[in-house]
Point group: C2
């Protein structure tokens, strides 16, 4: 091999992932050359304060304070966006694409909420808009969905996509902690941010699921319409009951094609212990994809400097290799709107936990409400009274429609049969 071409990166965002990217580029220098025939160099880094200037200079890059310096520099081939937020990244990526530059981002929020416009723009300009790092950092899933698994027409997606939520649920399960304590612990250990809303409310998971649905099914499920329940509703009591029945509670991203309609959502669910997803613990992520050729499970680190940095690098290397842009995996970048299955029609197994007064007739009345809707029960257990009075009554249903379950729950609460909020989880 003779002289290597140099691919110049303009980087916005020099936090954890930005540093991870700089590290993996440095450590993989030889591999990058052998795999792409090019050298990859971080030429300029956008900084918002002088605080980062020395760090940028330490990696041999030029600090710039106006993002237009990245767009206007004709030597910069790729703009890498690792800043977070939505407004500024939208501007930066839009202008980079308009200038005919490739863009690589880890920004699932932007792509989920306003990605389709950006993908159309990238297609119009014939450039890459890489986002391998935006779903499950170190796990190769974006490219496999549009390429390696393209022959396996994926029809079902199940994912544990948020390491913070999974870490908290794992700690609650293994140590019997309540949610608040587990969250504080996770914050103290750096596994949860000071404002953990996006993670614990399932929003981050929903952003990622929106991207996976596009890649796997080739349709656009508007993020705002995705049903999302976070983990703040999960109690140690329900975790314990689930364990007694042979399940672990996980925050799942789920999507499947049902007669051409898309059923999707994010919610805590009971996962059977012998399912590989039940073994995904702590800060790890996993994705189960099922198509016409059987299931595949991908497992690894979902976040962190190097896992995410290495995913960004994979996108950069594809560009350096002159791979043709194939951003969404479909020829036409305008994906049709998803035909969304009515939420009430979604069929699954259900876990229902009531807190009821300890008196005769309650079990009969609740069972009656379920029977009226043809909700068939596979197991029922009455537990000893909890602190503050009331007896937990747990039902595991056979397959039933979500609409019937919700209407049964409403009726049971309206009949005054319960002493506390009823908990409802799907069972995988």
């Amino acid at each position: 091999m003779l002289e290597n071409k140099v691919i110049n990166i303009g980087l916005a965002g020099f936090g954890t992932v930005g540093h991870g990217l700089a590290d993996v580029i440095e450590e993989s220098r030889d591999v990058i050359r052998r795999r792409t025939g090019s050298d990859i160099r971080i030429k300029s880094v956008l900084i918002r304060s002088d605080r980062r200037r020395a760090e940028v200079e330490a990696i041999g890059a030029t600090p710039v304070t106006d993002y237009r310096a990245l767009i206007d520099d004709p030597d910069i081939d790729i703009v890498v966006e690792l800043t977070g937020g939505i407004e500024f990244p939208r501007t930066l990526i839009t202008e980079a694409l308009q200038a005919g530059k490739h863009a690589v981002t880890a920004n699932k929020a932007l792509l989920a909420e306003d990605g389709m416009r950006l993908f159309a723009l990238a297609a119009e300009k014939g450039v890459h808009l890489g986002f391998e790092a935006s779903v499950a950092g170190g796990i190769p899933v974006v490219r496999p969905l549009r390429e390696s698994l393209a022959g396996n027409s994926i029809r079902k997606i199940l994912g544990i996509l948020n390491g913070t939520a999974n870490y908290i649920l794992t700690e609650m399960t293994d140590k019997g902690l309540d949610f608040e304590t587990a969250l504080s612990d996770a914050q103290a250990k750096g596994y949860a941010e000071a404002d953990p809303t996006l993670d614990i409310e399932g929003i981050d998971t929903a952003h990622k699921l929106t991207l996976l649905i596009r890649l796997a099914f080739g349709c656009n499920y508007p993020f705002a319409k995705l049903p999302v329940t976070g983990i703040t509703v999960v109690t140690p009591m329900d975790i314990r009951f689930a364990q007694e029945f042979g399940y672990r509670i996980k925050l799942l991203a789920q999507a499947r094609l049902v007669d051409g309609k898309v059923e999707a959502g994010v919610y805590p669910a009971l996962v059977p212990e012998d399912n590989l997803l039940a073994s995904v613990n702590g800060p790890f992520n996993a994705i189960r994809l099922e198509g016409i050729a059987g299931p595949v499970v991908l497992h690894g680190r979902g976040a962190g400097d190097r896992p995410t940095g290495s995913a960004v690098l994979a996108d950069i290397m594809a560009i350096a290799r002159h791979a043709a842009p194939n951003n969404l995996g479909f020829v036409n970048p305008v994906l049709p709107e998803a035909d969304i299955l009515d939420l009430d029609d979604a069929v699954s197994l259900h876990y229902l936990r009531f807190i009821v007064p300890d008196r005769a007739g309650v079990l009969r009345d609740i069972a009656g409400v379920m029977a009226d809707r043809n909700i068939s029960i596979q197991q029922v257990t009455q537990k000893p009274a909890v602190d503050g009075g009331g007896v937990p009554l747990v039902f595991l249903s056979h397959e039933a429609k979500a609409g019937d379950i919700h209407s049964a729950m409403r009726e049971i609460e309206n009949m005054g049969l319960t002493l506390a909020r009823t908990m409802h989880f799907r069972i995988l």
Copy 2:
């Protein structure tokens, strides 16, 4: 989208996988069109007897009896080789590449034993030589290694790559069967072939490992030099002892970079129960890849009509999408020879099971031989006498060099301290 281009396939081999390919092409017609802008059509199928003629015509293809009909047909874009064996596939693929056609194969034996010449020829002609189907059928691993994981400089590979061997070990573990009984059961159920040699002797696993080493490390470890031990040596007794210590015995493909040298081999090993690989059961495969950005585990079906057929289809779709050939994942298709670590220098934990006479001094003598070589012991257990006399004595070592372990085993046997063959497995 206007008129679709048609990509014509010339198929050699219409057995299980060939039919699987025809099925997935048929079922994915719409998806293929949306993802590639093309229709994929099996135009001609090579048959060796008239027996298959009707089957070929049933999928709308033309049966041909001379492979040159696939090479000489100017309409055929891609030759797909699914015949098995080595000599004929070598001829077919060589002539197809020479004619400037793309080739796709599931033939790990050919690629492991004589692939480098074919990859050089494909590079010279600027065509694809696709082999996603040749390692772990339904699991996307070939393309991820050269693309999605290219940023994660992989340094360690661990794989369960043979479904037959894994099924037999799983049955031996779960039902306490001996090897012969488990093999007969597997043959009766269609999980093992009449001649299971390639599977149970680890040869098929070694073929796949040879390909993974090339893709991950970018060097060529000559297949003939790869150390290979099959599962015929595994006994129910050792499986039971391993379980007591918290391990399961699996047939592993293993490779890692140690100071730039490659240490690799195929052998049954003890896998800790809490390792994801220990949960890979029956006909499933899994691959654990560890690089500078943490571990990734890929799990799925390793063989079968649709998993393998869908992997072949993924390669065909990449060609239909006009992706640039990137067969080995490196710019220079001439990979350097691997610098092979001396086998004696490989360091790991070890399981040693002796059958010794039930008399004083034996434990002291064996422990003495180990101590002389600085082999440090983490656990030792003496078990009740087995049928036919003799007492099993099981040692679990701390990290030790393979050379020291082998020399200790030889000396212990030469001292007449054992009544039966000593079993030695590595511990993961």
